[in-house]
C-alpha cells in the first residue's frame, strides 16, 4: 500500500507539475470573450483556421472576466480579452491588469474607438459600438398605438408595473452603462429618483445584460432595457420585439479589447489583436447575429444594425465613468437606494 500511495502521489505530482507547464506552449491563444457566445465562437474558429493557432476560448460576462483577471493577477492565464462594455476594460487598464499596445490598425478605426484607446493610454481599444435602448414585446404592446413607449419617461407609466426587466449593474456592464447614462442625462440625484420610481415597475434585476430582452421575446416580461443591437438580434431571430431608441437621448458602449499583462502567449495575442481589427474579421459579426457597429471604418455595418447617426447620443464621459472610484461610488449608492428596496 505504501507503494500504492507513493505511486499515486508521484502521479499526482507529475500531473500538478506538467499540467501547469503545458500553458506555456506556443501555437496557442487563450481568449476571454465577453460578448455573445455566437460571435465568440465564430471569431475563434475563423482565427484558428487562418493561422493554425489553437484558440482556447472562455465566454463570461464582462464583470466576470474582469474579476477573473483580478483573481489571476499574480499569474495571468489569459492572453486577450475581447468584447464586453468598455468600462471594465478601462478599469483594468487603470489597475495595470492589461498591457500597452498600439496596433498598426489604429489609423483605420473610427474616432470613438481611438478615443477609447487614448483614454486608457493604449491599454485597450474599441472593437464595436452599440447604443443603449429598450425593446418591447409587440404581442403585449401595439407598436401602432399612441401609448407605445418611446422615451425613458414613458417607462414610469403605472401600466408597466412589474413588466420591465433590466440587469443588475453590479453584475452587468449593460446595466452600469444605463446607470451612468442616466446620471449624465439627468443629473445624479434626478437619475436616482428616476431609478427609484422605475424600480416599482421592475420585475427582476437579472444577472446577464441581454437576458431581459430574451424574457421580453418569450413574453415573460413586456419590456427589456438592453443594448439596442441585442434587441435587434432577438427581432431578427423571429421574436415579436420592437426596438426603441429613447427620445431624450441615450448613452452607448464602446465594446473593447485588451491584451492581458503577462499572458502566456504575448505574440499570438498581438497577432489576434491586429487580425480582429481588420474589416474582414469585423464583418463576421453579422454572420453570428451580432449587430453592433464595427470600429474599422472600412468594415460594412450590418443592415439590421441600429444606425448610430439616427440616434440622439449623449457625449458619454468614458474616462470619468470608467474609473474605479466613480464606479464604486455609483454602485454603492445604487445598492443603498435601489438594490435594498
Amino acid at each position: 500500500m505504501i507503494r500504492a500511495i507513493a505511486m499515486s502521489g508521484l502521479a499526482a505530482a507529475a500531473l500538478l507539475g506538467t499540467s501547469g507547464a503545458v500553458n506555456a506552449q506556443s501555437g496557442e491563444l487563450v481568449l476571454y470573450c465577453a460578448a455573445d457566445e455566437g460571435i465568440c465562437r465564430l471569431l475563434s474558429e475563423t482565427f484558428q483556421r487562418e493561422t493554425g493557432i489553437n484558440v482556447l476560448m472562455t465566454r463570461k460576462s464582462s464583470g466576470e472576466t474582469y474579476a477573473q483577471l483580478k483573481a489571476e493577477e499574480g499569474q495571468p492565464r489569459g492572453d486577450v480579452w475581447w468584447g464586453g462594455t468598455g468600462d471594465p476594460h478601462l478599469q483594468a487598464a487603470q489597475e495595470g491588469l492589461t498591457s500597452v499596445y498600439e496596433s498598426p490598425m489604429l489609423d483605420q478605426l473610427q474616432d470613438w474607438a481611438v478615443r477609447q484607446a487614448e483614454t486608457a493610454d493604449y491599454r485597450t481599444v474599441g472593437v464595436y459600438a452599440g447604443a443603449l435602448g429598450f425593446g418591447y414585446n409587440t404581442d403585449l404592446i401595439d407598436p401602432a398605438s399612441e401609448n407605445a413607449p418611446k422615451c425613458w419617461a414613458d417607462l414610469l407609466d403605472e401600466a408597466y408595473r412589474d413588466e420591465i426587466q433590466v440587469a443588475n449593474p453590479n453584475s452587468s456592464g449593460t446595466s452600469y452603462t444605463m446607470l451612468a447614462t442616466l446620471v449624465q442625462l439627468m443629473g445624479e440625484d434626478e437619475a436616482f429618483a428616476y431609478l427609484a420610481a422605475l424600480d416599482d415597475n421592475i420585475a427582476q434585476y437579472t444577472s446577464s445584460g441581454s437576458a431581459p430582452i430574451r424574457a421580453a421575446g418569450t413574453g415573460e416580461t413586456t419590456i427589456g432595457i438592453v443594448f439596442m443591437h441585442d434587441a435587434v438580434t432577438q427581432a431578427v431571430s423571429g421574436s415579436p420585439i420592437q426596438v426603441v431608441a429613447p427620445c431624450e437621448g441615450t448613452g452607448y458602449e464602446v465594446g473593447s479589447m485588451s491584451l492581458i499583462e503577462g499572458g502566456p502567449n504575448p505574440e499570438n495575442a498581438r497577432l489576434f489583436y491586429d487580425w480582429v481589427l481588420t474589416p474582414e474579421a469585423q464583418e463576421l459579426g453579422a454572420q453570428a447575429n451580432s449587430f453592433q457597429v464595427p470600429s474599422n471604418m472600412n468594415a460594412a455595418t450590418p443592415e439590421e444594425s441600429p444606425n448610430l447617426e439616427d440616434i440622439l447620443l449623449i457625449d458619454y464621459d468614458f474616462a470619468l465613468y470608467g474609473s474605479s472610484d466613480e464606479r464604486s461610488r455609483l454602485l454603492s449608492r445604487w445598492d443603498q437606494e435601489i438594490g435594498s428596496r
Binding site: 500500500m1 505504501i2 507503494r3 500504492a4 500511495i5 507513493a6 502521489g9 508521484l10 499526482a12 505530482a13 507529475a14 500531473l15 500538478l16 507539475g17 506538467t18 499540467s19 501547469g20 507547464a21 500553458n23 487563450v30 481568449l31 455573445d36 457566445e37 465562437r41 482556447l56 476560448m57 472562455t58 463570461k60 464583470g63 474579476a67 477573473q68 483580478k70 483573481a71 489571476e72 499574480g74 499569474q75 492565464r77 471594465p88 412589474d162 453590479n170 453584475s171 452587468s172 456592464g173 452600469y176 420585475a203 427582476q204 434585476y205 444577472s207 441581454s210 437576458a211 424574457a215 418569450t218 413574453g219 415573460e220 416580461t221 464604486s328 454602485l331 445598492d335 435594498s340 428596496r341
Partner: protein
C-alpha cells in the same frame, strides 16, 4: 514485483529514493525560473538551482543527503534513529518557509532579498521535484514516527494517517484560512482588521424590514427564511412519502422509489428552467389556468415561492430516504400494544409513532436546511429579487466590483450557519436513545395509517408526483423540440446538433458541437475523481474505525468539515489559495479533481465507517495473526466485505462530479470547462432548449455509468444470505 519491493527496502525505503530523485534529478519548478546569472542550471533540480544562486533550496538537499548517509551507516532501519524526525521536521519547515516566503514576484519580507539576491527575482510554483520532495518528507516523518510507536508501530497505518492529515491540511484547511485572512483586507490589498466588523454588520445583511415594513430583508435573514421553509416543507413531504411507502397499500411504490432517485442525477438549473417553462408568466400551466379558469398570468414563480418549489422538489427525496429508514425501524409491537390497550388509531399515531419519528424528522429537517443554504443553481435561475448568501458570494467575486474580502465575510457567515446546523444535528442524534430494533421478536404487523392522516398524505404526495412528472416531461421533451418555452413543439435535433455535432470527414471523426469540450472534460474529471475519492474516503474510514492514534477526534472533525463547507465557499477559497505559488494549480484539470476528492470523500467515509462497524474485527485479527501486514489485510479481507460502501461512494462521487456547479464555476478555465458551467452560461443567456438537451444527455451518461460501476464493483458474497438493499447516502452541501 516482490523482488523489486525488497530491493527498494534494502536501498533505504521508497521515501528516501523519491526524496533523492526530487532534489537531485527532477525539475523543482513547474516553469523554468528567471535566470540568476549564476550559471545555467542543467536539470533544473533543487541542487542545480541552489548552486545557481537560489541558496534557499539547499536545506532540503542537505537533509536528503544526510538521510542517505544515515542509511549507509545504520542499515535498513535508519528512520528509527533519534535525529530523523527532528531533521525531517526542520527540513519540512524550511521547505515550506521558502515556498511561501519567496513568491512569484519576489520575497514577502525585504530582508530575504538582501541575504540572497536571487530571491528578488521571485520563483514560480512547485513542479514535479518540489511536490515529490513534499511527499518524501511526509513519508519519512511517518516512517520515523511509526518506528517510535505511532499507530502501534504499524507502518502502513502511520503513513496513511500522516498523508491524509497532510492532504486535508493542504486542500481543506489552508484554503479556508487563506480566505479568512482575505476578510481583513480592503479590495486594494491594504490590511485593515476593523473592516471585518464593518462588513459583518452591514445593514443589507441583517435587516428585518420585510417582517415589519415593505422593504426587503437582509440577505442573511432571507437565507434563513428560505432554509427553514425549505426544511419544513421537504420534511413534511418526505414524511408523507415515507408513510405511503411503509404504511399504506399504495400501488406504485416501486415507481415512487424510482422517481425519488431522479433529482440526485439531475444537473442543476434544469429544474429551475423547467419550472419557468411550466409556471412562468407564459408557462404551459399558467396558460391553461388562464384559458380555463381566467386566473391572471403573474410572475409569482420568480423569488421565494419559485426557489422553495424547486428546492422541495430536489430535497424531498433525500428526506424521504432518511425518514423511510426511521419509519421502517419502528417496532410494530409498540403500536400493537397501544391498540390492545384501547387507543384509537389516531391516538396511537400521536402518542407512540410520532415521538419515535422525531429524531428522524430532526435529521431530515437539518439535512434539507443545510442543502438549502448551500443551494446555488435554483436561486440563480429563479431568484428574481430574492437575494441569498450563495448568490451574493458569487457576485461579490464575479460582479462588477471584485471584492474578495466581502466574499470572505459572507462565506464565513454561511459557513457558521452550516456548521451550527451540523453541530445541532450531531448533538440531537448523539444524546437520546430511540432504540426500537432489539433482539426481541418484532413479529407484529405495523398499524395502517388513521384515515384522516392517510387522506392528508395522499393529498400531499399526488400533486408532488404530478409536478415531478411534469418537470421531467419538460426535460425529456424540451431538448428535442423547437422551443418549449414558446410552446413550439415541432420536433427538431437542432439543439442537440448545436451542442454535439460531429462529422466523419477525411481526418476521421471530427467534433464540431460547442459542448464537446466541456462534456469530455466532465466525463474525464468525474472518471478520475470517483475512484480517487472512494480510495481516500474508504482509507479514512478504515483509519477511524480500526486504528487508534493521537488526535483521532480532531481528524474525524476535519474530514467532516470539508463536507459542511458550501460549494461557493470552496470555490472562492481555492481561487484565493491556489492561484499563486507555491501550489499554483488553478486553470488545470488537477484542481477540479482535487476539489471533488475532498468535497465528496466524507460520504465514502461515512458509508465505510457504517459498513466496517457491522464487520467483526476478529477476521482482520485472524489475518494479521497469520502474518499479513495492514495493507494486505485491508485488501484481501476488509475491502471485499464492504463492497456496498465502495459502490455508494463511487456512484456518489461520480454523480456529484458530473452535476456540481457552485464550487466548479470558479475553477473552470478555457482549457478545462465543465458541463455545468457551460449549461449555466446557456441558461443565463436564455437558451433554454440547449441547456435542457445537454442536461438530458448528461443524465443518460450518468445512468449508464452507474450501471458500469455496479458491474465493476460487483456484489459481496455473504454466505448464502441475499444482500440487503441500502439507500444511497445524502447529497452534499452544494
Amino acid at each position: 514485483m516482490r523482488q523489486a519491493l525488497t530491493l527498494v527496502n534494502r536501498l533505504g525505503g521508497l521515501w528516501l529514493l523519491v526524496g533523492l530523485a526530487a532534489v537531485l534529478v527532477l525539475p523543482w519548478y513547474k516553469l523554468p525560473p528567471p535566470d540568476t546569472g549564476g550559471g545555467a542550471s542543467l536539470l533544473g533540480s533543487a541542487l542545480t538551482e541552489a548552486l545557481a544562486g537560489r541558496w534557499w533550496l539547499l536545506p532540503p538537499v542537505l537533509a536528503m543527503l544526510a538521510f542517505a548517509g544515515l542509511r549507509l551507516g545504520r542499515g535498513e532501519r535508519w528512520p528509527a534513529h533519534a535525529a530523523v524526525p527532528w531533521l525531517a521536521g526542520a527540513a519540512a519547515i524550511l521547505y515550506l518557509g521558502q515556498a511561501f516566503g519567496i513568491g512569484l514576484r519576489g520575497p514577502a519580507i525585504d530582508g530575504i532579498a538582501q541575504a540572497m539576491p536571487a530571491a528578488a527575482l521571485g520563483q514560480p510554483g512547485l513542479g514535479v521535484g518540489g511536490f515529490a520532495l513534499g511527499i518524501a518528507l511526509t513519508g519519512i516523518i511517518a516512517d520515523s514516527l511509526a518506528m517510535r510507536g505511532f499507530c502501534r508501530g504499524e507502518r502502513f497505518a502511520a503513513n496513511a494517517v500522516i498523508f491524509v492529515i497532510t492532504l486535508l491540511t493542504l486542500f481543506v484547511f489552508f484554503p479556508i484560512l487563506r480566505l479568512g485572512s482575505a476578510a481583513l483586507f480592503t479590495p486594494d490589498g491594504v490590511f485593515q482588521p476593523g473592516l471585518f466588523v464593518t462588513r459583518f454588520t452591514a445593514p443589507d445583511l441583517w435587516g428585518l424590514d420585510c417582517l415589519v415594513g415593505d422593504r426587503k430583508c437582509g440577505v442573511v435573514i432571507n437565507t434563513l427564511i428560505l432554509g427553514i421553509l425549505s426544511g419544513l416543507c421537504s420534511t413534511a413531504l418526505g414524511l408523507a412519502l415515507a408513510l405511503i411507502v411503509a404504511r399504506t397499500g399504495f400501488r406504485f411504490k416501486g415507481a415512487l422509489r424510482a422517481i425519488s432517485i431522479l433529482p440526485i442525477i439531475t444537473p442543476p438549473f434544469v429544474v429551475g428552467v423547467a419550472i419557468i417553462v411550466l409556471f412562468g408568466r407564459t408557462g404551459v400551466v399558467t396558460g391553461w389556468l388562464d384559458l380555463l379558469f381566467d386566473i391572471p398570468r403573474t410572475r409569482w414563480v420568480y423569488g421565494l415561492p419559485g426557489i422553495l418549489l424547486a428546492q422541495v422538489l430536489a430535497f424531498a427525496p433525500i428526506t424521504f430516504l432518511v425518514l423511510l429508514g426511521t419509519v421502517e425501524a419502528i417496532n410494530p409491537t409498540l403500536e400493537e400494544a397501544s391498540k390492545t390497550l384501547g387507543a384509537k388509531p389516531f391516538a396511537t399515531f400521536r402518542t407512540v409513532t410520532w415521538p419515535l419519528l422525531r429524531p428522524g424528522l430532526a435529521a431530515a429537517f437539518l439535512l434539507a436546511f443545510i442543502e438549502s443554504l448551500a443551494d446555488f443553481g435554483n436561486p440563480i435561475v429563479l431568484g428574481g429579487g430574492y437575494d441569498v448568501l450563495s448568490i451574493r458570494i458569487f457576485f461579490a467575486v464575479v460582479g462588477a466590483r471584485y471584492d474578495l474580502g466581502n466574499a470572505a465575510v459572507l462565506a464565513i457567515i454561511l459557513l457558521t450557519l452550516t456548521l451550527s446546523a451540523f453541530w445541532l444535528q450531531t448533538r440531537w442524534l448523539g444524546k437520546k436513545s430511540y432504540v426500537t430494533v432489539t433482539g426481541k421478536s418484532d413479529a407484529g404487523l405495523s398499524a395502517p395509517l388513521p384515515d384522516p392522516l392517510k387522506a392528508a398524505v395522499y393529498l400531499a404526495v399526488i400533486p408532488w408526483i404530478l409536478f415531478t412528472l411534469g418537470v421531467y416531461a419538460i426535460v425529456v421533451i424540451g431538448g428535442f423540440v423547437t422551443d418549449v418555452a414558446r410552446f413550439d413543439l415541432a420536433p427538431t435535433l437542432r439543439h442537440l446538433s448545436t451542442a454535439f455535432a460531429f462529422e466523419f470527414g477525411q481526418f476521421g471523426l471530427q467534433l464540431y458541437g460547442s459542448a464537446w469540450d466541456s462534456l469530455q472534460t466532465t466525463v474525464l474529471v468525474s472518471a478520475i475523481a470517483a475512484p480517487l475519492t472512494t480510495a481516500i474516503g474508504i482509507l479514512t474510514a478504515y483509519l477511524i474505525a480500526r486504528q487508534n492514534f493521537a488526535g483521532k477526534g480532531a481528524f474525524e472533525f476535519g474530514t467532516m468539515l470539508s463536507f459542511a463547507i458550501p460549494g461557493t465557499v470552496v470555490g472562492v477559497s481555492y481561487v484565493a489559495a491556489f492561484n499563486v505559488p507555491p501550489v499554483d494549480i488553478t486553470g488545470t484539470m488537477a484542481i477540479l479533481v482535487i476539489c471533488f476528492m475532498f468535497r465528496n470523500m466524507p460520504v465514502g467515509m461515512r458509508a465505510g465507517i457504517a459498513a466496517l462497524s457491522q464487520i467483526d474485527r476478529s477476521m482482520e485479527e485472524a489475518s494479521q495473526t497469520m502474518g499479513a501486514n495492514g495493507f494486505a489485510t485491508l485488501r484481501t479481507v476488509v475491502l471485499p466485505l464492504i463492497r456496498p460502501a465502495i459502490f455508494t461512494s463511487m456512484v456518489y462521487a461520480f454523480v456529484t462530479a458530473m452535476t456540481a456547479v457552485s464550487a466548479v464555476i470558479f475553477l473552470v478555465s478555457a482549457r478545462h470547462n465543465m458541463a455545468t458551467a457551460y449549461i449555466m452560461g446557456r441558461v443565463e443567456n436564455g437558451e433554454y432548449p440547449l441547456a435542457i438537451a445537454y442536461s438530458a444527455v448528461l443524465m443518460i451518461i450518468m445512468i449508464v455509468c452507474i450501471a458500469i460501476i455496479q458491474l465493476l464493483v460487483g456484489r459481496r458474497q455473504l454466505g448464502r444470505r441475499s444482500e440487503m438493499h441500502k439507500p444511497p447516502a445524502a447529497l452534499p452541501a452544494e
